[in-house]
């Protein structure tokens, strides 16, 4: 009789395990978001050639590698392989960060005829004047930080939700803004990796930074600001 009950218990546990497995099997993969404008629509600030490579090659590669890393992570978690889980963290941060950052970036830009470059109105414009004195002063600070960044990275205008303040931050490589502070929300990000400007501006990153403001989509930034500071 004891053997019988043992067997029943085993079957029960097995059943439970497989349910858990099926539930955790759903792995969401990511795909390249479409640009809300043509590749050439941001000229002459950013060339169509750069936009196409940046979107179709660079962003796509981050997404492909992110999906791959997530799949490997999923497998490792199921196997209880902690050392692989730990090893995959940097690939996830890099490729996942690349996907996050570029997804924000495409929305940070807009063709001039669709409002690109138009100064922020509404509460964000007011907050900028309060925090930085003027839009020009903010742009100057962001450009200085962006130009001084050594290597690859991003320069951000962010909202610190805790301190209820606007901040300018830089992140290295593809680190998302949240790695600089859990309460930071990105409003605007400017990609200062060389692939973002080299074909057009060569070494002169400051020229790229000067010109990108002509196609910055302040409407998007204002929208995020109003939503997050509510």
């Amino acid at each position: 009789m004891a053997i019988l009950s043992l067997a029943t218990r085993k079957t029960l546990t097995l059943g439970l395990n497989s349910t858990r497995l099926t539930q955790s099997c759903a792995l969401r993969t990511f795909s390249l978001p479409e640009l809300p404008y043509d590749y050439g629509a941001l000229e002459p600030a950013i060339s169509g050639e750069i936009m196409q490579l940046h979107h179709q090659k660079h962003h796509q590669t981050y997404i492909s590698n992110y999906n791959k890393a997530l799949e490997q992570l999923h497998e490792a978690i199921q196997k209880g392989d902690s050392s692989t889980v730990a090893k995959l963290q940097s690939a996830i941060k890099f490729n996942g960060g690349g996907h996050i950052n570029h997804s924000i970036f495409w929305q940070n830009l807009a063709p001039i005829r669709e409002g690109g470059g138009e100064p922020p109105k509404g509460s964000l414009g007011w907050a900028i004047d309060t925090n930085f004195g003027s839009l020009e002063s903010l742009i100057q600070k962001i450009n200085a930080e962006g130009a001084a960044l050594q290597g690859s990275g991003w320069v951000w205008l962010g909202l610190d939700k805790e301190l209820k303040q606007l901040v300018i931050e830089t992140t290295a490589n593809q680190d998302p803004l949240v790695t600089k502070g859990a309460h930071l929300v990105p409003l605007l990000g400017i990609d200062v990796w060389e692939h973002a400007y080299y074909l057009q501006y060569k070494n002169v990153r400051p020229d790229y930074l000067k010109n990108i403001w002509k196609v910055i989509n302040w409407k998007y930034a204002n929208g995020v600001y109003e939503k997050e500071s509510a």
């Binding site: 090659k57 890099f94 050594q150 290597g151 690859s152 490589n173 990796w193 060389e194 080299y198």
Partner: protein, 256 residues
């Protein structure tokens, strides 16, 4: 200036005799000529040992004109501009300047410029027209000893180059303590000499190094470098020099 103060404290831990020598020099000069002396350029831009179109079609003349003529030149000029304001750093060799300004991982403002100047000098000389193929004799022997085979080494070099996140360099380096060759990757402008490694070859994996010729196709760039550009002659000479500092073989002890 903050970095000036930092450097004054360096006189104690730095055992380099060069430092005391250059300080004496400065003392002599300061007694009269300081006010009228104008700064001289401390470092010059070395030209690569080939014409700018010499690496075509694997690295275009246009790429070299921008990479060497503008970017590398910019590092040298910016470095000299920084050195104009610093008494302490005057008179250093480039090697010493890289190590000093690295400051054990807390780099001084001059580090980026001098390290990139160093890295790029080394890079142009790590390539040659008609490069590629395989190393020979002693260098090949050492590679086979430390990597198993040339193919293994090549795979490791390519894999390391392609797995670099962000900007940086890939190196074939001789490790002093381990007395063996290794492939390492460094971020941004870091150079293995700061860890007392002896570089044998390097490859620039910053995007600006390949973007004009290969756009985002890193793999093709690295492959072209290995097949057609890498100078095993330069690597051989460097390894021979390195053997003056690192004993790679078993010493022959004569038994009387």
């Amino acid at each position: 200036m903050a970095c000036h103060l930092l450097l004054t404290d360096f006189t104690l831990p730095l055992k380099s005799p060069k430092l005391s020598h250059s300080r004496q020099q400065r003392k002599g000069r300061s007694n009269g000529s300081r006010k009228v002396s104008t700064t001289v350029a401390y470092y010059g831009l070395k030209t690569p040992p080939y014409n700018l179109d010499g690496l075509e079609p694997y690295m275009s003349k246009r790429a070299l004109e921008v990479h060497w003529g503008v970017r590398h030149r910019g590092f040298v000029e910016d470095l000299n501009r920084q050195l104009r304001k610093s008494d302490i750093l005057y008179g250093y060799t480039m090697d010493e300047l890289v190590k000093t300004t690295f400051n054990n991982g807390n780099p001084l403002p001059e580090f980026n410029n001098v390290a990139e100047a160093w890295n790029h000098d080394f890079f142009w000389e790590s390539m040659q027209p008609g490069g590629g193929d395989m190393p020979k004799l002693g260098l090949l022997g050492q590679i086979e000893k430390d990597f198993g085979s040339f193919t293994n080494f090549r795979e490791k070099f390519v894999e390391t180059a392609l797995s670099l996140f962000g900007s940086g360099w890939v190196w074939l380096v001789l490790k002093r303590q381990d007395k063996r060759l290794a492939v390492v990757k460094t971020s941004n402008s870091i150079n293995p000499i700061v860890w007392e490694g002896i570089p044998i070859l390097n490859l620039d994996m910053w995007e600006h190094a390949y973007y004009l010729d290969y756009k985002n196709d890193k793999a093709k760039y690295v492959s072209m470098f290995m097949n057609h550009l890498v100078s095993w002659n330069a690597a051989t000479v460097r390894l021979a020099c390195a053997e003056a500092f690192v004993n790679l073989g078993e010493p022959k002890i004569l038994i009387a």
